[in-house]
Assembly symmetry: C2
Homo-oligomer: 552 residues x 2
């Protein structure tokens, strides 16, 4: 039996686009002699569809896609992910299901039982869990069909859940496991995923075919990396990360044993690849081609510009240099050098004349008051307004260049440098941005394939917002290496003040930093969506009260 896995990039709610893509994959699989082709979780509508699921019309369209696939299933089995209606009056209206289509009929439907409701996931909001588990008989084989999270409680070791769906199917002696997933990327997740697939295979001693979605849905990035694992617990194949892919496997070969082929999982490489896909998909799915951003001469905007050029092509990236009277000469030089290295369009619009008109308009009110954060914010907002003006006039999307350290402590101006349609680096700590810059400087991205596009000075100089004379980040923030370790423990690991002190962080620093994080929730509430690359990014995965007083 030949089994095709189709690792595709679906677009939420784009029923025509998703169906066309799946129909083409069915024909490709058929041409390659496949008996069965498998798509990912909720593939008809894209994952996560969120509250679109509450629209009856949306569910009808999902089912129309399933029916269209059913019609082309003559001679080839098709496993597709779609919501299905819960026939019972009680419980949520929908199930999250894998549909097994064959010869124009529905051969079986397996609903998902383990509904992730944590971090970015809201499945209990929409779905009723499965209570029945049966294999599907197909061409003389028995298939243990499952959806995503249902393989993540092997041996009942996951404390979140009380049942283990595959255990329930084993009495029927399935020949192999098929799992259709929408398992989002973070830089540690691919390793975890292989570990989980292996735990299942070792428990049940049968092969597993695991199809994952690929591509970004705004903030959430799916990395693909679909897995075929042999009963010996070795990887028979791992599909590429961040690319669409369709491959056909002979079941008998997979049963004979794996080949231990696994891709390297280097953190900065993965983050880089994820961010490039994240940018590319955001533009493509919204129907935009061109990005704009402000280039300050600093490291964050430099890295963002390089990633944008990689994602969209240098010809589609435009930058503005927006110096103020506080910008140092080298900042403009560094920014210009980067733009030249990347061969991207750049223009310079000094903001001083505009700043001065603001000053004179506000003079009656501010006259006898000292220069403070107000004037710093005005400069940042002038820049935001200029960038948005160019973006509005010429149809760019403005990319935001804030990093995770700044976003965490609120070191940034709402409606100023926090402007943008997409935040590229706000899940990447400042210290990781440096790693990313060094990584990028090893790539042949310059003219004639030259490496080192980011000026060394942008990497080496002390970070500064340059919003008042001689300003340095270190005037108001702890050193980034300490800050980032502390933020990681608080944000990713959810350690409280007592635990942080026990880890050796200075107590006064802990109090100060946690307070900064919590007091700035109002800024993150209004920030652009953030490409998620860690296990705890800002956005839907981290839901904090704004008026909360805790540690504030």
């Amino acid at each position: 039996m030949k089994i095709a896995l189709a690792q595709l990039d679906y677009h939420i709610g784009n029923f025509e686009g998703n169906l066309d893509k799946m129909l083409a994959a069915v024909e490709q699989a058929r041409a390659l002699g496949a008996d069965l082709v498998c798509f990912g979780e909720l593939s008809v509508c894209g994952y996560p569809p969120r509250d679109f699921l509450e629209f009856d019309d949306f569910i009808r369209r999902c089912h129309a896609s399933v029916e269209a696939l059913q019609k082309v299933s003559h001679g080839i089995g098709i496993v597709v992910g779609s919501p299905s209606r819960n026939p019972l009056v009680e419980g949520k209206d929908l199930h999250n299901s894998a549909w097994f289509l064959y010869d124009g009929a529905v051969l079986g439907i397996q609903h998902k039982a383990l509904l992730p409701t944590y971090d970015i996931f809201d499945e209990n909001r929409y779905f009723e869990p499965a209570t029945e588990f049966h294999t599907v008989s197909f061409k003389g084989k028995k298939v243990a069909l499952s959806v995503c999270e249902d393989i993540w409680n092997v041996g009942n070791e996951n404390p979140l859940y009380t049942i283990c769906p595959l255990d329930e199917m084993m009495a029927e002696q399935p020949d192999f496991i098929l799992n259709i997933s929408a398992s989002p990327f973070d830089y540690s997740h691919a390793a975890l995923r292989i570990h989980t697939v292996r735990a299942n295979v070792e428990r049940y001693k049968i092969p597993m075919f695991y199809t994952n979605n690929v591509g970004a849905q705004t903030d959430v990035i799916f990395d693909g990396g679909s897995i075929v694992m042999s009963p010996d617990g070795l990887v028979f194949d791992e599909m590429p990360y961040f690319e669409e892919c369709l491959r056909v496997y002979e079941l008998a070969e997979v049963q004979q044993g794996g080949r231990s082929v696994e891709q390297p999982k280097e953190k900065i490489t993965l983050i880089h690849d994820a961010l490039v896909v994240g940018i590319r998909d955001y533009f493509r799915k919204l129907g935009f081609k061109k990005a704009i951003l402000g280039l300050s001469g600093g490291i964050d905007s430099a890295v963002t510009a390089v990633l944008a050029a990689e994602a969209l092509g240098a010809e589609n990236v435009r930058v503005l240099l927006l110096p103020s009277q506080f910008s140092s000469g080298h900042s403009v030089d560094d920014a210009r050098e980067l733009a030249k290295n990347l061969e991207i369009q750049y223009d310079m619009v000094p903001i001083r004349p505009i700043f001065e008109t603001f000053e004179s308009a506000l003079k009656p009110y501010f006259e006898h008051l000292p220069f403070n954060v107000t004037e710093e914010n005005i400069q940042a907002r002038i820049r935001g307004t200029l960038l948005m003006a160019m973006s509005n006039k010429f149809g760019h999307i403005l990319l935001n260049t804030t990093n995770k350290s700044e976003m965490a402590v609120g070191y940034g101006t709402l409606y100023g440098d926090l402007c943008g349609g997409l935040s590229v680096l706000a899940d990447v700590y400042k210290t990781e941005v440096y790693d990313l810059a060094r990584f990028l400087n090893n790539l042949p991205l310059g003219i004639g394939g030259k490496a080192g596009v980011i000026p060394q000075n942008s990497i080496e100089k002390p970070p500064s917002a340059e919003l008042r004379p001689g300003q340095k980040d270190s005037d108001s923030l702890p050193p980034y290496d300490i800050l980032d370790r502390l933020l990681f423990q608080y944000i990713e690991c959810r350690q409280g003040p007592r635990e942080l002190a026990a880890q050796g962080f200075d107590e006064a620093l802990v109090t100060r930093v946690l307070r900064m994080v919590n007091m700035n929730e109002f800024k993150r509430e209004q920030a652009a969506p953030v490409l998620r690359v860690s296990s705890k990014g800002f956005g839907m995965g981290r839901r904090m009260p704004i008026v909360g007083k805790y540690l504030g």
Copy 2:
């Protein structure tokens, strides 16, 4: 037996503040001879605490508050809401519980079984449902203790749930039901709540004491309206809406029969009262006193200014008149008249000089291109920057004045008129804003208690953004009476294109409006939190994909 209900305004994560408030209420109840005093759901930490619940330290502090209450429970029973730890390895780590404290001990704990996971609610994200249900014996009575949603599946008629917690307790023959709630306001909810309490009382033929929280937690507003209902299904007492309150009831009297006392539930009055509390609590809980906003002469900013003056006092509201070259003379007159009527501080900062500097900075790029939405947005962003500058310099919070109709269709400028710390009207449709204006004009809010503070012209003139010569909202939007009915059906009622056409809406209009709503999700993603007054407000209660293509 004397039972005190304490309807209090808790502050999320403000453990000291919440505890002090409850300790004072215990002493007040004791002084009034109460045998028992009941607080609301998650009263120790405030509701909804969101992901703070994932911090072990946060749970420890909850338990420290419970212990502090336990210590003062000599001679008086105390029912308090707090998370409790799930002792089992499997399932979520926490329960959402009602703790019954008495004489220094824990007399009983009842966990919540029905965990709302829809709209603004995420309880399955944090809590494991109860599986055991027992009454608590207290001073010779048996108490059926329950938390919020657990009374909302009476007779198993709620399709969301499969169990009915109170049914499970009835074998123990309780004397009365006690429910501690955090049941948020929308303008139709108070009536529904009484209906639900009545359905329980009619089923079980025993009295119910229902305590609700009051006050706003950013966007979510709790209206109080705690209920005591007699076994005859008549209301014995309904506590005031939007105010803290503590009252003591003699159980024997309640058992004898209700008095049918219910407060009027007029939609616009309720919305008005909710918005005033929403503003007041946002400021108080963030430690701010003063609001600023831009006054355009239009209806939305006029209504927002009046509400702010009611909530914070006229002396704490400051407005800016920010006319451009496209502002009509009457706009400035209307704005000035309102400011004078309200006796609030107003200043005028014409934006033309700043707009002209932007024009000249952008001239090299825009020179031969027509005036379009870009220039409209620049004006809106200059206003946003000026308002934020004043707010930064003098410590105001900027109030956003966008209404729900505009917010729905994206008729507004991101980082411009969408700026603000809190959006007062973005859950109030334009047609409802007019109702609110007429309501406000009947109140004695002017100098010397005069009515009619909002100039008639602001109410009667055709709405316009005044961002280009002669602009009217009706140039780009359908008439608001039609638009609002359509939006209500789409947003509140989740009707799709087919159903809307069947309701008689023009098909082309439906396509156009639904597309506008869905294409503008990116703006709402970055908008200020919205005071929620309807059953479907923008924010956490409505979660839509940004790159979604559905109806876009």
